[in-house]
Amino acid sequence: MQRFVDLTLNGVTNGMIYAVVALALVLIWRSTGVLNFAQGAMAMFTTYIAGAIVEHRGSYWLAIAVALGSGAVIGAVIERTIVRRVENGPVLNPVIVTLGLLVVLEALAGIIWGGGLRSFPAYFSQLGVVVGHDRLAFSHFDLYVMVAIVTVLVALVVLFRFTSLGLRMRASAFAPDVARLLGVRVGRMLTLGWALAGVVGALAGALVAPELLLSPNYMDAVFIYGFTAAVVGGLQSPLGAVVGGLVVGLVLAYVGGYLGSTLEALGALAILMVVLMARPQGIFTRVAQRQV
């Protein structure tokens, strides 16, 4: 029982991280129809920047703020300078371009900060909390991860549901031409969507770094699980991304715990295959039905 509880707690914490990565992918997919394969690499890069600030005796919170800010800048710059040029071409072009960005960002990080492992501070204790006589697989740091992610989720819901900026962004994603006719500056909204995704991804990068340690490709696995989560959720739905993240987190925790940690990646592959065979549109996406 104790083991089950531990694995579940582990799965939920990791799942939240995958959910955030999935959410970043959904934000971009929904608005620009581009699957951003560089999302993990962008997060890796911003976390290196944060790490550099901590090393130069900056505070942890300053480092996090700079990471999120640079996530926004990197996202916006990539959209403005690169993605905008390939958006309207063949569908494969943005895929190749974002894959290229992934390679470039990882190489760049290697050149600037070296290829070796670097530590990243956790700020809160990573020791499990003791309840009764048992030490749970849930630390103060895990609690902080949860609170940070839930805060971001709530902020995004408020932004999209209750503000006019969010309304403009949704309209630009659903029907760019109609939005334009209503005076929405759609181009700006797309840039903003990429910036937001950059912020959300940067948060995920900084939150997993203490456990995984920094290296140029430390986000690769996280990205793949986040990508799986996004596909499970249907790529269109932010709620789907969050649920998908939790599903992937839990399944991987159980697979890793009961069947062996080497099977985790296979577990993700299995989820992906099952979902794609049973519900190719994802669990949370309604297939668009046109009324005539």
Binding site: F174, A175, A179, R180, L181, G183, R185
Partner: protein, 235 residues
């Protein structure tokens, strides 16, 4: 002040000329009907007027403002609202969100209140918090027009608002448009295949054929010309 003036407008789609040297003036505060068969260039004309397609030649002016070559978002900010063909409501948003979206570029003081458009289109009030995907064809058309009105436009470009509507609903819509134009002085350019109902409320008519203006005259004159009616208007 001059009205909405289109002069020498030409649009090409590749090697195909969609509009050739189209000129007309829509009088301020009046309804100008643009009529013609399918493929006459009516939709292209509206799309060129709002900057959705780039004309090869010609100018579009509204009062002292030159709209030619401006971006769609900026044409809208000159007070020109365009209700596209096929309604263009955003199905994923609620009725109220669609309406709000229409008013966002205006300052709060200039925006129209929801109550005012609900008075004009009472059916929408009951559906206020429903998704636009649940609306009927007539309700969608009402929503599209109501949404354009939210920003208190000076010019309203309507592309086939009667398309797919029952005759009674079309009649209602036309009467509302007529009173809107009269009461608020909105300049309306009404593109219609349903020539008879459009002519009934218009104070000027432009007939297009194969991208060229065949005739621009008072609606009575157009309606009285049997040959014109027979060749281009189908009634």
């Amino acid at each position: 002040m001059a009205g909405l003036t289109v002069s020498g407008l030409s649009v090409d789609y590749g090697h195909v000329a969609a509009l050739v040297d189209v000129s007309f003036e829509a009088e301020l505060g009046a309804i100008t009907a643009v009529l013609g068969a399918n493929g006459a260039g009516k939709t292209t004309l509206l799309r060129a007027m709002t900057g959705l397609v780039r004309p090869r030649a010609g100018t579009i002016r509204f009062g002292d403002k030159d709209l030619t070559g401006r971006r769609v978002e900026d044409v809208v900010r000159c007070g020109v609202a365009h209700v596209p063909e096929g309604r263009g409501v955003i199905e994923e948003l609620t009725v109220e969100e669609n309406l709000r979206l229409g008013s966002l570029w205006r300052s709060r003081r200039t925006r129209r209140g929801y109550d005012e458009v609900f008075e004009l289109f009472p059916a929408l009030a009951a559906r206020r918090h429903r998704h636009a995907s649940t609306l009927s064809g007539g309700e969608r058309q009402s929503l599209a027009v109501a949404r354009a009105l939210m920003a208190r436009p000076e010019v309203l470009l309507l592309d086939e608002p009667s398309l797919g509507l029952a005759p009674i609903v079309t009649g209602q819509l036309m009467r509302r448009l007529a009173s809107l134009s009269r009461d608020e002085g909105i300049t309306v350019v009404l593109v219609e295949q349903n020539a008879r109902s459009a002519l009934s409320i218009a104070s000027a008519a432009v007939v297009l054929n194969l991208g060229r203006v065949v005739v621009a005259d008072r609606p009575q004159v157009v309606a009285a010309d049997a040959q014109l009616r027979h060749h281009y208007l189908g009634f």
